[in-house]
């Protein structure tokens, strides 16, 4: 079977007046993967998604869903959508909303199945307007799921959910991927991407600036943090070669460096009594910050 990407942007450019939202973006979503699309506000994530959903056309480049025009109904009958800010009719009940969306798909799930799977039984017959913010998000997630899609677009799916509901939704997402469903996820919660994504794509200023597994992205950042208790003076360590910053956290020093090994060697030599040494690699959050900051400063130069 040929591996046509389920969704693909090729050299996509989109401008709003003088603002360039997408600057030649290449992006492909493969079968069975959960791709987390990350980027600071205004990076072009929403524009990229809305072009893939056929809501907008790129000024240049191309977009395809299942090898077809994203505006074709056939292509969109294979995707499920959860948007960030949608107001649905407050007088309709959750079950009715699911039923209505299900009717648009060729072989949807029974709404009862979705209600069951997402544990919405208690709210299924209540008017949507009477639900809490988190419950509304769960119903919207159900509406994305009910069409039995091959590809799900989820924009900030867990905003407003309590920890328990978030964990439950994460589990459903993992199960879906396991069942072969592909997911494109945009999120502000980097731990969410870290917990779920097979692949991360980081965007800034309309371009892809980093891509790969979470591990690969983290490795992108050579910076590490050495934390320890020492009698050495923070100001003194700051002068060592390779040290970028030193912080003092209640007597624990936090030494940030790209050359952890040599700094560690010197630390052990300078203070034989040094205790509680911990070396931490950058998390996705730090990597993300670093990648986006770097690409911004490149841009400025």
């Amino acid at each position: 079977m040929s591996q046509t990407p389920l969704a693909r942007l090729t050299g996509a450019v989109k401008k709003y007046g003088s603002l360039t939202a997408l600057d030649g973006l290449d992006l492909a979503v493969d079968r069975g993967e959960l791709l987390a699309l990350l980027g600071p506000n205004g990076a072009g994530k929403s524009t990229a998604i809305s072009i893939l959903l056929g809501l907008q056309r790129p000024d240049a480049g191309s977009a395809a869903l299942f090898g077809e025009d994203p505006q074709s109904l056939d292509a969109r009958r294979r995707i499920g959508i959860m948007m960030q800010e949608v107001m649905l009719s407050p007088v309709m009940r959750a079950r009715e909303l699911l039923l209505q969306v299900a009717s648009y798909y060729p072989s949807p799930y029974d709404p009862a199945h979705v209600i069951d799977r997402l544990n919405l039984g208690a709210i299924a017959e209540r008017p949507y307007g009477k639900l809490s913010g988190g419950q509304k998000r769960q119903v919207q997630f159900g509406m994305a799921l009910v069409g039995r899609p091959e590809l799900l677009f989820l924009d900030e799916p867990t905003v407003g959910l309590d920890v328990q509901s978030r964990e439950a939704l994460w589990k459903v997402l993992r199960d879906l991927v396991h069942e072969g469903c592909s997911i494109v996820l945009t999120t502000h919660y980097l731990e969410e991407a870290e917990a779920l994504a097979n692949r991360v794509a980081v965007m800034t200023r309309g371009k892809l600036v980093a891509g790969g597994t979470v591990e690969e992205i983290r490795a992108h950042v050579s910076r590490k943090t050495i934390s320890c208790r020492t009698r050495l003076d923070a100001a003194q360590i700051r002068t060592w070669p390779g040290v970028q910053a030193v912080g003092d956290d209640n007597g624990r020093l936090q030494i940030v460096t790209r050359e952890a090994e040599s700094v560690l060697y010197r630390l052990l030599a300078a203070d034989t009594d040094v205790r509680d040494i911990e070396v931490k690699r950058a998390g996705l959050a730090e990597a993300f910050t670093e990648i986006t900051a770097a690409s911004t400063s490149e841009k400025l130069q």
């Binding site: 809501l55 299942f66 969306v101």
Partner: protein, 487 residues
């Protein structure tokens, strides 16, 4: 691969049906929409048609019924499209629906059918009230026509609402729609018949789509209407197409494709589409103008007397056409050939006040070259009447003759010595007090001459009927007339 995603026709039809069903459910569950839309027209009709209007007689009752039903029909289209669309545009619902694989055009179709169903419910309520509460006489055919006119008549207002919803913000839309709805229904004579409005407003009336729908509605119940049916249909078609095209262009420029189809890149409109849109606008304006000017020409200048011209007595404007020009004949009736016919018009007809609930009655016959009218004036109602009436241009309400070239009505009379009255039914207001002159019919033939110029209450351009008879006192009466002339 796409075989698995192909959707059967059955499922696609079911999707359309589901959208319709849920749109209707949604609107019925929204009291701010459903209650005023369904109940206001019936409530106003109860007040103006049943409680206040009942004494105005069946003809006026039909007019009130037709006008207020149109008022009801406007609302589901204007609010269902205008307010809902503006909200859904503003709060992301429309974008979401656009991204979903909703079948082509289902968004519009569901709302259209919803509005038509609301119009159907409103019409049914109004018909029930008219028949069972106001006791307005309507045939099954008139009921069916009313239903059809109202249910289809909702569409121009759907298009108008769509246009408002395409431009207005969610916050502004309800106020904006009301600002269109209420003044427009007033200005097109739905609240107060047009002839009570200032003349320039009457002349402006054909600009409003609700004016054209109200004329069709009046036609449906057999009331006279301004202008030909076809001109109203054209005007409504034009308005519908125009508003729809403008709305689609506005929504399309924002990336919305409510009819389905595909947009070109970058949101730019292709040349062909642009030309197509402009052509649609041009055609719709042409249709509307043709309809409006058709209607206007008839209102302002058409001669009355033919079946399709404007001459409704109560719904008509004061700028109503004058009646049919009176023939040059001066002699109306000399009854010499044993007939009560007249050279034009409906001849003389004896009658009482039974239609107003009274018990007066009269009969007439031609005896020895004179018209003998006799009968009894009853006491069942105030202002009883019995006598004979001449309708120069037909007895249907709104048939007028232009007698502006005549100055004197003369005839000879004799009788039982009672006082009798000549009354001229004229002008557009059926319930206005007619111009009246009295004479006494003694045992000898006497000449009666009435100077028309001196009658202030006579609208000589629009004379509907000339009445000669007794207004009482109650009891038997008998008089004869001969040699009736108008010169």
């Amino acid at each position: 691969m796409s075989t698995t995603t192909a959707m059967s026709t059955g499922r696609i039809l079911a999707a359309y049906a589901t959208d319709i069903r849920f749109e209707l459910t949604k609107m019925l569950r929204t009291p701010a929409f459903a209650l005023p839309t369904l109940l206001f027209p019936a409530m106003f009709y109860l007040i103006f048609g049943v409680l206040i209007g009942a004494k105005n007689g069946p003809a006026e009752g039909l007019g009130t019924f037709a006008r207020l039903t149109v008022f009801g029909t406007m609302a589901p289209g204007l609010f269902g499209f205008g307010v809902s669309l503006a909200f859904e545009r503003e709060y992301g619902t429309l974008i979401y629906k656009q991204a979903l694989p909703m079948p082509h055009g289902s968004y519009l179709l569901a709302r259209m059918v919803m509005a038509m169903m609301f119009a159907a419910i409103i019409s049914t309520l109004m018909i029930l009230l008219a028949v069972f509460a106001a006791h307005v006489p309507m045939t099954a055919g008139q009921i069916a026509q009313t239903f059809l006119v109202q249910v289809l008549g909702v569409l121009p207002f759907c298009a108008l609402g769509l246009m408002v919803g395409a431009y207005a913000s969610g916050q502004a839309a309800p106020a904006l729609v009301n600002l269109i709805y209420i003044p427009m229904s007033f200005l097109s004579g739905l609240w107060v018949p047009l002839q009570f409005l200032p003349k320039f407003l009457q002349q402006l009336a054909p600009v409003w789509p609700s004016f054209h729908l109200s004329q069709l509605a009046l036609g449906a119940v057999g009331r006279d209407q301004f202008g030909a049916t076809s001109s109203h249909v054209l005007a409504l078609l034009g308005v519908t197409l125009l508003c729809f095209t403008i709305a689609m262009r506005k929504l399309g420029s924002g990336g919305m494709r409510l009819l389905g189809g595909k947009s070109t890149s970058g949101g730019t409109v292709s040349f062909a589409r642009r030309v197509g849109g402009l052509a649609a606008i041009a055609v719709s304006i042409a249709l509307f103008v043709a309809g409006v000017s058709g209607g206007t020409a008839k209102v302002v200048a058409a001669p009355a007397g033919t079946s399709e011209t404007a001459s409704a007595a109560t719904d008509a404007a004061a700028s109503l056409p004058a009646g049919v020009p009176a023939p040059a004949d001066t002699a109306l009736s000399d009854f010499d050939h044993g007939s009560d016919r007249t050279p034009y018009g409906e001849g003389w007809h004896a009658g009482g006040d039974e239609t107003r609930g009274g018990n007066s009655h009269a009969t007439q016959k031609v005896v020895d070259g004179a018209l003998v009218v006799s009968g009894t004036v009853g006491d069942a109602i105030a202002y009883p009447f019995a006598g004979t009436v001449f309708f120069p241009s037909g007895y249907e309400p709104g048939r007028f003759m232009d007698y502006s070239g005549k100055h004197t009505l003369s005839f000879r009379a004799r009788g039982d010595g009672h006082q009798y009255t000549v009354a001229f039914l004229s002008g557009v207001q059926v319930d206005a007090i007619p111009a009246m002159v009295t004479f006494t019919a003694g045992s000898d033939w006497t000449d009666v001459k009435i100077d028309l110029d001196s009658l202030a209450a006579l609208d000589r351009q629009r004379v509907h009927g000339i009445v000669i008879g007794s207004l009482g006192p109650p009891g038997d009466f008998r008089f004869e007339i001969d040699d009736v002339e108008l010169r």
